[in-house]
């Protein structure tokens, strides 16, 4: 959603139509429609656009905008979830959230997951993408293997890993049997270890997505550039450093954006592996699990909605900031001057 918001803004200012009087729908019109036509066809075109975008807008408003608005509304009430809310408390729910130390912890965990995801997955995925971009035997098999975890449902991944990482689970069992009983730890419940177990699982699961994105990005780099570089005497590593990485930049920045948003909203894996209560003691709680624990499980729906609003605003601010300062040069460049 925030994706399309950001992409719109440059399109708006540079639209060949100029400051047209057309409604929101016109800005979203596909590029062929952007060619201005004369006279009577104008209203007809607008009508078509309205008709074509109408259903999508209705669904978007009903299932995205309206719930966000409702959540904001409920967040001002103490509400047990039955019937219409009546007990208006103003901003008190928000005060409670920002004073709650378990929310601070959840926020901190989200921050860690955002940063660690970027610095663990990013470099590894780039290297992997470079590797399997080479012509070699079994390349497609490798690609599939790397991508498979991303396709498996979170519930299955969570259940599988949690069974393996149990204190008496397979991982500790194997460690003991190969003569490393000192290496066995409480992978899931030790607060010093649990967040790293989570990072391991997240990296394993989502790295395939990064690799596929980067591979697609690599396909878009013209062969000629490398030929020119090798004629100029660039080594393989120099070529990667000075050609591949810069030209892969837009892809990396988009991936980072998706990764950040995903990390902020992380819920399912934590909920499946740690359950409803242990996440906060194991140091893996996130804003989303905090919301479910204190909203749904406690049946404090007003409070839970307020948490949802906070989560939404934090994600929105981060997304907009990222688009404003990091992604802008990609979108601008793509539209006007070609690659920088």
């Amino acid at each position: 959603m925030s994706d399309s918001l950001g992409e719109n803004s440059p399109v708006m200012t540079r639209s060949p139509e100029g400051p047209s009087a057309a409604g929101d729908g016109a800005r979203r019109a596909p590029s062929p429609a952007g060619r201005p036509r004369r006279g009577g066809t104008d209203w007809r075109k607008r009508f078509e656009v309205a008709l074509l975008t109408g259903p999508a807008i209705i669904i978007f408003v009903t299932f995205v905008i309206l719930p966000v608005g409702m959540a904001a509304y409920y967040g001002f009430y103490k509400w047990k979830g039955y019937g219409p809310p009546t007990d208006f408390v103003g901003l008190q729910n928000y005060v409670t959230i920002f004073k709650d130390s378990s929310f601070h912890e959840a926020l901190q965990h989200n921050g860690m997951i955002v940063v660690l995801s970027l610095i663990i997955q990013g470099p590894v995925a780039v290297v992997m993408a470079l590797l399997i971009n080479q012509k070699m035997r079994g390349r497609s098999l490798l690609r599939v293997l790397i991508f498979v975890p991303y396709v498996i449902s979170e519930v299955i991944v969570g259940t599988g890993w949690s069974l393996m990482l149990q204190t008496s689970g397979a991982v500790n069992d194997v460690l003991t049997k190969i003569g490393l009983p000192g290496w066995t730890v409480d992978w899931l419940s030790d607060p010093h270890v649990a967040i790293w177990s989570l990072m391991l699982i997240i990296s394993w699961k989502y790295i395939g997505f990064a690799v596929i994105l980067f591979l697609a990005g690599l396909q878009g780099i013209p062969e000629e550039v490398f030929e020119a570089a090798s004629i100029d005497g660039a080594s393989y590593w120099q070529a990667q450093r000075h050609i591949t990485l810069p030209l892969l930049g837009p892809t990396i920045r988009i991936w980072a954006f998706l990764s950040i948003i995903g990390s902020l909203q992380l819920f399912d894996l934590v909920y499946i592996i740690w359950g409803q209560y242990v996440a906060s003691t194991a140091g893996t709680s996130t804003m989303a699990t905090y919301m479910v624990l204190n909203g749904r499980n406690a049946a404090n729906y007003g409070f839970g909605n307020a948490v949802a609003v906070v989560l939404f605003l934090i994600s929105l601010v981060i997304a907009l900031t990222y688009q404003r300062f990091v992604l802008r040069r990609d979108t601008e460049g793509a539209l006007t001057e070609g690659k920088k």
Binding site: P55, T167, D186, G275, A282, A298
Partner: protein
């Protein structure tokens, strides 16, 4: 694509969109007997085995005795029940008959006008007795029918106790701690605890509170939700001290209560741990998790140990009741069905299917499993029986108690933090 095609496609899409946005509940009903065919839905947490079979058979008998009535059974995993039920009640698409456990949780549903008074017939009233019905009574009206009484206590494996050289069952905390040590010496995990689900861990705190706090203190907190009596902190101290002796199974924080062989009930069922503090549903859960899915032959039971200087009366018990309620829009047949299930035959079947204690006194003769007869004997002697504290004080306090106790056992919080957590939770309500 020509203009007409575009128009047609758009119209179709718009219809879909409107259809989606306009799907609101249009369920009719409303507590009155209708002459035509009656459809009802029933939500139960018996997802497998004998329990599921019991409901299927009972519903079939009821349908045969009441032509035109049809009941659809939907099973919901126990841990999902509270959340799903709340969503369903809110959406106006509630099940007609749903599982309820009385206390503060049911009261919240009743106060929201989502439950219907149940007309309890005289035969049922006599068989169940006032005590069990009280838990389902709000403002003098009965809103739920108790199916079984589920007092809590410690289940244990007689074989493992013997193996560790333990004779007799512990009656004080000192005895229990000594037995824990003996079991550890024999390389047996002493107590299985499914702390991942939190409520089994919270039960330990509840029982310490039951021993430390007087009945009046427990009752007083229902109304004012204040936990400032010293006994609440003392119960936390007791639990912290006990937890220091490392009595629980390895990795109890990520052990669930009832799902699979690795759960706490599964550990007991497979002789991987010697004890578990649970309600009277446990023999049934354990039976479903033994290798041959038969009841555990050496399963025994003893009441929660006494504590020196506690204000709770000796022999007091804590437990829950499993029952069913009718939602506000349910037809009158709902009450009829709930009374139907309370007949001696069905109560006996229920007790057999769930390996538990039936609410109807007429049917209690059917209980023969040794662990359960011990529970029943203690229950009938108990000076009073409190509801589980989370059921008693409602979902919000229960949730805060769950979190606080798990924190304490994980070594993150202290006893005072449990009480503080409950007070903090009041701000979110």
């Amino acid at each position: 694509m020509n203009g007409r095609k575009i128009l047609a496609a758009t119209a179709a899409l718009t219809m879909v969109a409107l259809g989606l946005t306009a799907c609101s509940g249009s369920k009719s009903g409303g507590g009155s007997s209708s002459s035509g065919p009656v459809d009802m839905t029933l939500w139960t947490n018996a997802t497998t085995g004998e329990g599921k079979a019991f409901w299927e058979a009972t519903v079939a008998d009821f349908e045969a005795a009441n032509p035109g009535v049809k009941i659809t059974i939907q099973t919901v995993q126990n841990e999902d029940m509270d959340g799903k039920l709340q969503t369903a009640l809110n959406s106006g698409d509630a099940p007609d008959i749903f599982m309820a456990r009385g206390g503060g949780k049911l009261e919240a549903v009743v106060k929201a006008g989502q439950a219907q008074e149940i007309i309890v017939d005289d035969a049922t009233k006599a068989a169940v007795g006032d005590a069990a019905l009280t838990a389902f009574t709000v403002d003098g009206k009965v809103y739920g029918m108790p199916m079984s009484i589920l007092p809590g206590g410690i289940y244990y494996s007689k074989d493992l106790f013997k193996q560790a050289g333990i004779t007799g069952t512990p009656s004080t905390m000192a005895d229990l701690e000594a037995d824990v040590q003996k079991l550890k010496d024999a390389k047996i995990a002493p107590i299985a605890l499914g702390a991942k689900d939190a409520w089994p861990a919270a039960h330990w705190y509840y029982f310490f509170a039951l021993r430390e706090c007087s009945q009046d203190t427990l009752k007083k907190a229902i109304a004012d939700k204040k936990f400032d009596d010293k006994c609440w902190t003392k119960a936390g101290d007791d639990l912290a001290a006990f937890s220091k002796t490392v009595p629980f199974n390895n990795g109890f924080l990520t052990t669930s209560a009832q799902q699979g062989a690795g759960s706490s009930a599964g550990l007991l069922a497979n002789h991987q741990a010697a004890m578990e503090l649970m309600g009277a549903w446990d023999p049934g859960v354990i039976a479903s998790l033994t290798p041959d899915t038969k009841p555990l032959a050496d399963l025994g039971w003893f009441p929660f140990p006494a504590i020196d200087g506690g204000k709770g009366e000796a022999g007091a018990m804590m437990g829950g009741l499993d029952g069913n309620s009718c939602s506000k829009a349910a037809p009158a047949e709902c009450s009829k069905f709930l009374n139907f299930t309370m007949q001696k035959k069905y109560q006996e079947d229920y007790a057999n299917a769930f390996h538990t204690l039936p609410a109807s006194k007429d049917a209690q003769g059917v209980v023969t499993e040794p662990a359960l007869t011990d529970v029943l004997a203690s229950y009938n002697k108990a000076p009073y029986v409190s509801l589980w504290l989370d059921t008693l004080y409602g979902q919000n306090v229960g949730n805060a108690l769950n979190s606080g106790v798990v924190d304490l056992l994980a070594g993150k919080g202290d006893p005072a933090a449990i009480v503080k957590g409950v007070t903090d939770a009041a701000a979110k309500e």
